[in-house]
């Protein structure tokens, strides 16, 4: 069985999302003057996090399904 491409994608975006969310929570509000006053690090970080987790879920679920097949064979 080859590496499932969704696994590294899920891991990377989960990690990047988490970093951006934390940074968005602790960063100085003044830097968001550029982005029209919106804390884009927090909000977009949540989007990345959600995307990463969805990818991870798919990857792990298909891995489990394949593992089951292997056991019954």
């Amino acid at each position: 069985m080859k590496l499932d491409v969704r696994l590294p994608i899920g891991m990377m975006f989960t990690l990047l999302g988490a970093i951006l969310v934390v940074f968005g929570l602790v960063s100085d509000r003044a830097i968001y003057a550029r982005s029209l006053g919106i804390d884009v690090n927090l909000w977009w970080g949540l989007v990345l996090l959600a995307f990463g987790l969805v990818m991870l879920t798919f990857a792990l679920r298909s891995r489990r399904a394949q593992g089951d097949n292997g056991a019954t064979r």
């Binding site: 491409v5 590294p8 990047l16 970093i19 968001y32 982005s35 970080g45």
Partner: protein, 568 residues
């Protein structure tokens, strides 16, 4: 005036580099044969191949260039997608992939050998190998220059670091590694650039606000108010739109010759579909790729349009070039620096790096395959073991990248080389689609016809360019180099489109005439699986109707028509 990066921005960039290298490392144990290295063992699922198919083409030049065109020409830039790329992708998936995948050819030049003869393959393999090295070199140069200008990064360091990373991950994991990384890069590009479009649109007051500002842009430039925000309404006359083209040149030149020539014959993209795990998957690859491709104008063209709208209505948004016109190539980088705070800025720049790496990796994997199978195995050392060619492919990855780096430095030495090479690509690529069309759909086309047709098509392209000029240019690299100027086009774009039309027509006619005058060397039996009329119809019946490539193709085309109408 450099954009300042914070520690978090560098962290994001480094995490990305780590994942890209990690994918190559994790895949290295699956590389056991030449097929694994060059063709991913033909085991890639359709959606993965599809995203790689579109991502391989998504080099930094595409992201930067489409943003620049969005600023310079406005909504008409969408024709590169909704008139050009999408119909071509549907065509290659439905009509051409059965021959590419079905013939079991390992590359586009190899298909030409099976269908025509050795010299046609040799010509295509050589020109393709040289062109891929130079195009990855040029895009490396463009990116390093940009990073130097915007971030103050060292030109040499940018080139060496990005080349080294691409080298390592392809060397370790071959085409699979390139494809997996292209999928990762695809998502990164989408998620890295989308905030730019969203914030920009919010700033200018949504689509309505953007249109209103673009009306000012258009009237100031002396066009009808909608010239920057409507794609079709102003193409009745070449002088009524910023692109300087009329509908016939646009539809024939861009929509037909250039787009079909690129998407249907360029091994860089076709290789991704050849790696798919079944015929149905190979045919679905370009069709699935067309769905995100359709939406890319919103990601790469709209930011450019926002940049020009702000430049004209708020003043001084874009830096001016030496001749006083805005430097359009900086539209996307300036937008990144303007809207994204540290954090998201790192993500945006990482997306830019990702687009560059996916483009370069596409070139390198196409180069090492064509070099190993179509040049080395065919002319230098035939009959060696599979292991031998696998090692050759890895070596070709190394020297392909070294040549690209060299090409990047050659570009810095000679200002004109970039324009010149782009001209050469146009000469070589435009006629090629005529060769494939006749090869796949007319059994009477012969090897001599194909080879000399290609040469004549390329020659006619050079001849046409040598006798015409775009408005305001002096004879030289831009055209008119044969002494006399017999026609002046309103823009370079119009000149390119017409060069392509002439080259394609010349190749098409010459191939037919020469084929009819020469003997057929290949029997019907030999052409089975290579020519439409001699190939048994594919039975798609195993899959339900809604999963069949034709259904998907019709849906994709329908959606494209809708987009064209909305932004008419």
């Amino acid at each position: 005036m450099h954009i300042q990066l914070g520690a978090i921005d560098y962290t994001i960039l480094i995490i990305y580099f780590a994942f890209v290298l990690g994918i190559g490392w994790a895949l290295r144990r699956f590389i056991k044969s030449g097929d694994d290295f060059f063709l991913s063992g033909r085991a890639i699922p359709a959606w993965v191949a599809g995203l790689a198919f579109m991502s391989a083409n998504l080099g930094a030049q595409e992201v930067i260039g489409m943003g620049a065109s969005g600023a310079k020409y406005g909504m008409m830039t969408s024709h590169f997608y909704w008139l050009g790329a999408i119909p071509a992708m549907v065509f290659v998936g439905i009509f051409m992939m059965p021959f590419y995948y079905g013939s079991r050819a390992r590359s586009v030049p190899e298909y030409l050998k099976l269908r025509f003869d050795e010299k046609t393959r040799g010509f295509n393999a050589m020109t393709f190998a040289v062109m891929t090295v130079f195009s990855s070199g040029i895009s490396m140069y463009a990116l390093a220059k940009l990073l130097e200008l915007v971030l103050g990064w060292d030109f040499n360091a940018s080139i060496l670091v990005s080349a080294a990373i691409v080298l390592v991950y392809i060397f370790l994991g071959g085409l699979t590694s390139a494809i997996y990384n292209e999928v990762l890069q695809f998502f990164l590009i989408v998620l890295g650039f989308l905030p730019l479009t969203l914030l920009g649109l919010k700033d200018v007051g949504g689509w309505a606000g953007l249109t209103a500002k673009l009306h000012v842009v258009a009237t100031q430039a002396g066009f009808a108010p909608g010239a920057w925000s409507e794609s079709w309404r102003h193409v009745g006359n070449a002088h009524a739109n910023p692109m300087g083209v009329e509908w016939f040149g646009l539809v024939m030149g861009l929509g037909f010759v250039l787009s079909f020539g690129y998407w249907c014959t360029d091994f860089l993209v076709v290789q991704r579909a050849m790696a798919a795990n079944s015929m149905v998957a190979a045919r679905r690859t370009p069709l699935l790729a067309a769905i995100p491709k359709m939406l890319f104008p919103f990601l790469v063209i709209v930011p450019g349009m926002i940049a020009i709208a702000l430049h004209v209505t708020r003043g001084g948004f874009l830096p001016l070039g030496a001749d006083g016109t805005p430097n359009y190539n900086l539209a996307v980088p300036v937008m990144l620096g303007h809207y994204l705070p540290t954090g998201l800025l790192g993500l945006g720049l990482t997306a830019l790096m990702a687009s560059f790496m996916s483009g370069m990796a596409g070139n390198v994997t196409a180069f090492n395959t064509v070099w190993t199978y179509d040049i080395y195995q065919s002319y230098i050392r035939p009959g060696q073991s599979d292991k031998h060619y696998l090692r050759m492919g890895q070596a070709a990855t190394v020297f392909g990248i070294l040549f690209s780096v060299a090409a990047a430095y050659v570009t810095t030495r000679f200002n004109n080389i970039m324009d010149m090479l782009q001209l050469v690509f146009a000469f070589v690529n435009a006629p090629l689609f005529a060769t494939f069309l006749l090869g796949m759909f007319w059994r009477r086309a012969t090897g001599h016809g194909a080879f000399f047709g290609l040469l004549i098509g390329t020659g006619v392209a050079a001849l046409h360019n040598g006798l015409v000029l775009p408005l305001g240019a002096v004879p030289g690299i831009k055209g008119g180099f044969l002494g006399a100027v017999i026609h002046t086009y309103p823009s370079e774009m119009a000149q390119n489109f017409w060069t392509a039309i002439f080259a394609w027509t010349a190749c098409f006619v010459a191939t037919i005439v020469i084929s009819l005058l020469t003997q057929r060397k290949k029997s019907d039996d030999e052409l089975k699986g290579l020519v439409y009329a001699l190939t048994p119809r594919l039975k798609d019946r195993e899959s339900p109707w809604y999963k069949q490539p034709a259904t998907l193709g019709v849906i994709v085309l329908g959606l494209t028509v809708v987009l064209n109408v909305i932004f008419w």
